[in-house]
């Protein structure tokens, strides 16, 4: 019955704003949901290619800045008198630019950093995110630096027959988040079950063997990194147009850690993983807020991360899977046949 579970959960989530009117809760759900989209994209790398990318927030932030700047416009000097002047575009164009630019950055960074593996890959990805943060902080002419980009226009979406809608209310933004999250989920689901996804899994499980049967490791990983970054960029764009203000702090390592916690607790390499993790860690701040200061909440997150790695390193999703599987009867192990060997297969 697990096949019907994702659409059922989507329906429940879609009905939520009808009963949930509290703007604070809705805001928490939107924020949690935006980071869940980031977690869904991170899972593609972390869970399916097995590459622990800890600079993922860079693509989210690049998407946020790209979308905001495309919409707001900018005027920057390059060499001497040569300036690039951009008049603000439609917010939806910003959304598209965010996806494309983040995807392109993901491609380039992947291309460069997949030359190293293991701890060195992790360190390179962290460094990349920090360099981008420092650029956002110091390129004041473009990004306003620590003063932040403000008054970012709200997202506008045109619907055939309905005309254009500006997303002003929390409920509208909630539906935008949910739609993008569902799309991201489907894209990742389709990708990992296609032959591209099998190549990724092959690389994760046994890189040498995968290359020896013709899998192009660099290209496969780079494509995964680009798609993952593009989805993160989409999440960043929603973030920018929802909060309408962004500063270089969107690149902080702690946000990457938030996504990592969502993926690892939910179950990396499981489609449901980041969704489960996102639901838990997206709503946990709301549950903990009356009792704890934000820094105390972070202590809880750190402790939960450690506890999960010790107690259920595969995350929650596989346990749910096992539970569903145990409700069906396991087929008996059949005896081994002799090799057939005759004729051409």
């Amino acid at each position: 019955m697990t096949r019907y579970l994702p659409p059922a959960i989507l329906v429940v989530l879609a009905l939520l704003p009808l009963v949930l009117k509290d703007p604070y809760l809705l805001n928490a759900l939107i924020t949690g949901g935006i980071f869940t989209i980031g977690a869904i994209s991170l899972n593609l790398l972390l869970g399916y290619t097995g590459q622990l990318s800890l600079g993922h927030i860079a693509f989210f932030g690049i998407g946020a800045y790209a979308s905001a700047l495309t919409t707001l416009g900018f005027d920057i000097g390059i060499f001497g008198d040569f300036r690039i002047v951009h008049e603000g575009w439609h917010p939806f164009a910003g959304f598209i630019v965010a996806i494309l630019l983040s995807g392109a950055c993901g491609y380039v960074v992947g291309r460069l950093s997949f030359r190293v593996r293991g701890a060195y890959f992790v360190i390179v990805t962290i460094c990349f995110a920090e360099v981008v943060r420092l650029v956002a902080l110091n390129w004041v002419e473009l990004t306003q630096g620590p003063l932040a980009l403000t008054a970012i226009p709200q997202m506008k979406i045109g619907f055939p027959g309905l005309g254009e809608i500006t997303l002003r209310t929390k409920a509208q933004n909630y539906y935008l988040m949910l739609a993008v999250a569902a799309l991201a989920y489907v894209v990742v689901a389709r990708l990992v079950s296609s032959r591209f996804g099998r190549a990724m899994r092959g690389l994760k499980e046994n890189e040498q063997l995968a290359i020896s049967v013709g899998v192009n490791a660099t290209r496969t990983l780079t494509v995964a990194a680009a798609i993952s970054a593009a989805i993160a960029g989409a999440a960043g764009s929603i973030y920018a147009h929802y909060f309408r203000i962004i500063d270089p702090d969107v690149f902080l390592f702690t946000y990457t850690v938030t996504m990592v916690i969502m993926v690892v607790s939910g179950g990396k390499g499981a489609l449901a993983g980041p969704v489960i993790g996102g639901l838990i860690f997206g709503t946990l701040p709301v549950a903990l807020r009356p009792y704890m200061a934000p820094e105390a909440q972070w202590i809880v997150y750190g402790a939960v991360l450690i506890a999960i790695l010790f107690l259920m390193p595969r995350g929650i999703a596989p346990y749910l899977d096992d539970w569903f599987a145990s409700r069906r009867r396991a087929p008996a192990r059949a005896p081994v046949a002799q090799p057939q060997l005759e004729g051409q297969p």
């Binding site: 995968a210 020896s212 899998v215 046949a337 057939q340 060997l341």
Partner: protein, 271 residues
């Protein structure tokens, strides 16, 4: 196979050095189209190194390898596989967490009939047709090596011998013209080994040339058309199993040891 068939693979004066250590001094031999050629030699003779050079996992410090006249120098292992060379590995021959079917499907991933990335994501007709064709091929290959009963089991849960069969199916999925087998029967019992010998012959009968590295001498003598013997990174003999058995250099380097020592070596190879 006839002795004057064209070479499919030429190992042309290949040498490999790691720092000051000479793994292969100067290796020179051809593999002819359609034959079963075995590479033998005592431990440390450079057999696995030679395998890694041929399949692109190691860059030789001198010489080159040619596949049907095309130089493999500087090509990555995945490119070399596309040119028609497939291999199995000594220890890890499968993707342990995938089912047997998915293992073989990974081998089929680069089928040119396959649809583009976007078609795959949106599950368009061409992708669906390609996927159906791949599944059919995978099923046929799995049947052919005799693992149809295990098709939906996790490859890592299979017995050692069965995993080797998955490895062969996986390699054959890439439709190679030549297959390199790295100690495929080590750890197998007698009946599994016999089955594997039949398998190797059937693979050859499908038109795939075989290069085999193996310590199990009776098996090598039984299955090979020709044998190349190495010692200390150098070629010391090249001939039919009977010629190799009688070759004084081989006897001295390899078979000349006492029966007990040979037995110990075989034990070590199986461990």
């Amino acid at each position: 196979m006839s002795a004057n068939a064209a070479p499919i693979l030429s190992v042309d004066h290949v040498g490999v050095r790691f720092g000051g250590l000479v793994a292969i001094a100067d290796l020179h031999f051809d593999v002819r189209e359609g034959e079963i050629l075995s590479l033998i030699g005592p431990n440390g003779a450079g057999k696995t190194t030679a395998f890694n050079v041929v399949t692109g996992f190691l860059k030789p410090t001198q010489g080159e390898v040619r596949l049907r006249g095309t130089s493999l120098s500087g090509l990555s292992p995945n490119r070399i596989n596309r040119l028609g060379l497939a291999r199995t590995f000594q220890r890890t021959s499968v993707f342990p967490n995938d089912t047997v079917t998915d293992n073989v499907l990974i081998g089929l991933h680069r089928e040119d009939r396959g649809a583009s990335l976007l078609e795959a994501i949106f599950n368009l007709p061409r992708e669906r047709a390609g996927e159906a064709a791949r599944r059919e091929k995978a099923r046929a290959l799995i049947d052919w090596v005799g693992l149809s009963a295990r098709a939906n089991e996790r490859a890592g849960a299979l017995s050692y011998g069965e995993q080797r069969l998955v490895g062969v199916a996986l390699a054959l999925a890439t439709e190679p013209s030549m297959l390199l087998l790295d100690e495929p029967v080590s750890g197998m019992n007698a009946s599994e080994t016999q089955n594997f010998v039949r398998l190797i012959r059937s693979v050859r009968d499908r038109g795939v040339t075989i290069l085999l590295v193996e310590h199990d001498m009776p098996m090598v003598m039984e299955v090979s058309d020709r044998i190349v013997a190495l010692n200390h990174g150098k070629l010391i003999a090249d001939g039919t199993p009977d010629e190799i058995r009688a070759d004084p250099a081989v006897i001295e380097a390899y078979l000349g040891k006492s029966a007990a020592a040979r037995e110990a070596e075989r034990e070590a190879a199986h461990a």
